[in-house]
Point group: C2
Chain length 208, copies 2
């Protein structure tokens, strides 16, 4: 059963338990999906409203983007759990002989790279959600402007949460070229996003 | 059916739709519950582990607190939806006569106060979750330190999201004494929490 097919309470119960998955990576993906869903909600509360006749096309485009990102993040939530399972499986491979040890090391390295690249994709997608929040606040139904504000808070929390999950995996990886590449990618993604969050939040507060 | 009994995907679908609830207030409560669940996870990965024998009592206390806060926030998620329904009902009351208009105005004011105080409770509870994150990072299983970091990101996003929902309701309230009181309470809750989030995040990053 997919994690996202479970009731919200069960998701929270499993998260709180000592079971290794879901963990922080899944929460990052869910937080991003919540942000994308809120952008969609703002759009859906704007479409077909006379007072917003001038922005219907823009809002339609925004909705198509937010729904695509929501689907992507829901998928990444499941992928994060799978990546963890893959790593656990590799760690349990036999290591009695030198050949077995070598096979296990190769499998663990590959699994750890996947477990790093999934949260990196979550971080990338969360940034794309952040990019939709100011347009949603500017053009969307003004009665839902606080929801556009919540969207950016959730998307930025998703970005930073995903970053922590990338970093914890990079910390155990020995492939220095891979580590340097992913660290550089992460830095670009994080650059200025705390400020962006605060600016959108302050702008939303100024309209309440 | 309770909102939290629905599958995660359905919750996201309903959030994205133009249906008035769930909205940003429910997301605030959920985000706080996710933060609390992550603190619980860190504790559950620490309890019974020999390497953490010296902190078992502290971790036990922390878990009791995080689980109580998680239950409270899950309850507040449902209350937020109920508060919105209450306000919608009041808005639909008849207003043909002066008496009806007066009754409706009284009911709307009362409902709006409830709809303000529920996210204020979410904000208060989110701050309590934030207070558990540094101890969880310091004393919990070091392999789960990134989860303590994600916990503070979700709890602070919950606080700010709840704040936006308090403020949008205060903006339409005419009872100036109530508005001033709730604004003051909110300011106390928000004070320094952005810095606290950044400090815990940076501390966690330094350990990865």
């Amino acid at each position: 059963m997919k994690l996202t097919d479970k009731p919200v309470t069960n998701f929270l119960d499993e998260l709180a338990s000592s079971a290794p998955a879901p963990g922080g990576g899944s929460v990052a993906a869910l937080s991003g999906a919540l942000g994308a869903a809120l952008v969609s909600m703002v759009c859906n509360l704007t479409l077909g409203k006379k007072a917003y006749a001038g922005v219907q096309d823009d809002i339609g485009d925004l909705l198509a983007q937010s729904e695509a990102l929501r689907a992507k993040l829901t998928g990444l939530l499941e992928e994060d759990v799978k990546a963890y399972t893959g790593y656990s499986k590799a760690a349990k491979m036999p290591r009695a002989t030198d050949d077995e040890k070598a096979d296990r090391a190769v499998a663990m390295l590959a699994a750890l790279k996947v477990a790093t690249d999934v949260p990196l994709s979550i971080a990338e997608t969360a940034v794309e959600v952040m990019d939709l929040c100011q347009p949603a606040a500017d053009k969307g139904n003004k009665w839902a402007v606080s929801d556009a504000g919540v969207a950016v808070l959730m998307a930025e929390a998703a970005l930073r949460s995903a970053a922590l999950n990338v970093l914890i995996n990079l910390g155990t990886l020995k492939d220095q070229e891979f580590v340097a590449d992913r660290r550089a990618k992460l830095e670009v993604l994080l650059e200025g996003k705390g400020i962006m969050r605060d600016e959108i939040y302050d702008d939303v507060v100024s309209r309440l």
